[in-house]
């Protein structure tokens, strides 16, 4: 057997490293940004879920002080009434000191005057499986002789959900836009690559290669390039996310999010982004080459 039959067939498209380098960099950067966006969207999603779960699992009852009434006694009565409501796990009245601590950001460290009618706060913990409704708790306190305000945190829950949804959709839109941008860049590069190697396409056509054969050569090249760039960009994004999470954990808060807890699902995002990068690149290259070949030979 001769040397030529033993040796593997040479690639029909010549190595194009010099031309591919800028494309590699652009694709890696796009995947990096898309990855961070996806991680941001996941973080916002999970954070919003955590905050809304926390807010909806609690309720606050305020006992407004009235002249001639003992607020502590009223608070104790309210705790007993609320605890009896189905769907309430526990209710606890905050002491005057705790109420002052809550008001401290507004009144400073000087404390409240003795005769200041500070409302008594009752923290109510609800059964997450079957939480009590605000109306039920309000009804339980309806015939009390003191005035009680029941707050189901609805306003906060809605605000948090709206904010989280905005961040989430913004991040997802960014992922889609970056994916389209990556596809467009690769399609442009594939056309340029084909324009530079018409000699190969012509030679292949003239020996009977169909368009699909030629398109697959470019598709394989760009799949490989997209995967490599994707893994590079995704690895950098993963590293950046780890650093951000670490810095966020150390500082206690990062931007307006306390700590980004992404969960194990986040581990899938970088490899998925790298794979998507390869597939988008391959698809874009294939379409671009098919279109260019059809135009040239029509």
């Amino acid at each position: 057997m001769s040397e030529n039959t033993r040796r593997g067939a040479a690639p029909l498209l010549p190595p194009d490293a010099g031309r591919d380098r800028p494309l590699f960099a652009v694709a890696a950067i796009l995947v990096f940004l898309a990855c961070l966006s996806a991680l941001g969207a996941l973080g916002a999603w999970r954070a919003a879920e955590g905050w809304t779960d926390q807010l909806s699992a609690e309720m606050t009852v305020q006992i407004l002080p009235e002249a001639g009434r003992d607020a502590d006694t009223d608070a104790a009565d309210a705790v007993a009434r609320v605890q009896a409501v189905p769907g309430v796990i526990a209710a606890r009245a905050a002491s005057r000191e705790e109420a002052e601590a809550l008001l401290q950001p507004w009144i400073g460290e000087a404390g409240l005057p003795e005769d200041f009618p500070a409302p008594r706060i009752i923290a109510v913990r609800l059964d997450p499986g079957a939480p009590a409704e605000v109306e039920t708790v309000r009804a339980a306190l309806g015939d009390a002789e003191y005035e009680a305000l029941v707050d189901g945190h609805r306003m906060w829950t809605d605000a948090v959900e709206r904010a989280a949804a905005a961040v989430r959709y913004f991040a997802l839109t960014l992922v889609v836009v970056l994916t389209i941008a990556a596809g467009a860049v690769v399609a442009f590069a594939a056309r340029a690559s084909l324009a530079a190697r018409w000699d190969v396409a012509d030679a292949l056509h003239l020996v009977g290669a169909p368009d699909q054969y030629v398109a697959e050569l470019f598709q394989q090249r760009f799949l490989s390039l997209g995967l490599k760039a994707g893994f590079a960009g995704a690895a950098c994004a993963g590293l950046a996310a780890l650093i951000l999470a670490y810095v966020g954990g150390q500082a206690g808060a990062l931007f307006f999010l306390p700590t980004l807890k992404l969960g194990w699902g986040a581990l899938l995002i970088p490899p998925a982004a790298a794979l998507a990068s390869g597939l988008v690149a391959a698809f874009a290259a294939r379409r671009a080459v098919f279109t260019a070949l059809a135009r040239r030979w029509e």
């Binding site: 057997m1 030529n4 039959t5 040479a10 003239l206 009977g208 030979w297 029509e298």
Partner: protein, 237 residues
């Protein structure tokens, strides 16, 4: 001794190539081919001659489907080329071997890879064609240049590699544009013998050349082009 070509019928119902009143122009320019009518019967061997710029290459381009006629009818393997669907082109091109004046070898592939290209595209395994390609390359005098790249070859060597690529798939139709323009007379005769052998196996051969010594070396019909017109068809002197 003059090599003998296969005697094909003067006309045939199933001509490999038939031109009927064909005209061709590039873009909006004037016609480079005018009222061309001829046919290449299956298994025939013919020459196409004419001065430079007469339209030989344009006529060949019509045959290997790189160009469509502006008017008239071109029939290839019994099919009107105007009605051939794009998807059918590869199957037809596989039946045609083309030797270009400018060789069109791929610089990044070795001589062996260039010659094996039609077989590789057809899906044959390297193991199945390796020995045949090597033997053919040896026959055209490139046995020791198989691993060389075209850019390192002389014009004559490139021409021989291009010829080997065109004939390696044993095509039904072989068209050659000045196939011996860059080789010495001895090698030209050797290559001509290769075309004749291929013709004996049933391949229809059309060789465009303005080398009259080559044309006269065979008793084959000659198509003569001048200023875009196929002025006469005559047997070689």
């Amino acid at each position: 001794m003059e090599p003998e070509i296969r005697k094909a019928p003067a006309t045939s119902e199933d001509a490999t190539v038939r031109f009927d009143g064909v005209g061709m122009r590039y873009g909006r320019g004037s016609e480079v081919l005018r009222d061309i009518s001829f046919e290449l019967p299956r298994g025939s061997f013919q020459f196409l001659t004419g001065p430079s710029g007469a339209g030989k290459t344009s006529l060949l381009r019509l045959i290997y489907l790189a160009q469509r006629p502006s008017r008239g009818l071109v029939t290839l393997f019994g099919q009107d080329t105007a009605t051939i669907q794009r998807a059918s082109l590869p199957a037809i091109r596989k039946r045609i071997g083309v030797i270009f004046q400018d060789f069109r070898l791929l610089d990044h592939l070795s001589v062996f890879e260039n010659v094996a290209l039609p077989l590789r595209v057809a899906g044959a395994s390297r193991r199945s064609y390796g020995e045949d390609v090597a033997e053919l390359l040896t026959w055209v005098g490139l046995g020791d240049r198989m691993d060389a790249h075209p850019s390192t070859l002389s014009g004559g060597e490139q021409q021989r590699a291009a010829i080997a690529r065109a004939v390696v798939g044993k095509p039904d139709l072989l068209i050659a544009d000045e196939p011996t323009g860059n080789v010495d007379p001895a090698m030209a005769r050797r290559l001509l013998r290769l075309f004749v052998e291929l013709n004996k196996l049933g391949t229809t051969v059309l060789i465009a050349s303005h080398d009259f010594s080559l044309v006269r070396s065979l008793d084959a019909p000659v198509l003569e082009l001048a200023e875009g017109r196929l002025s006469q068809t005559r047997p070689a002197a």
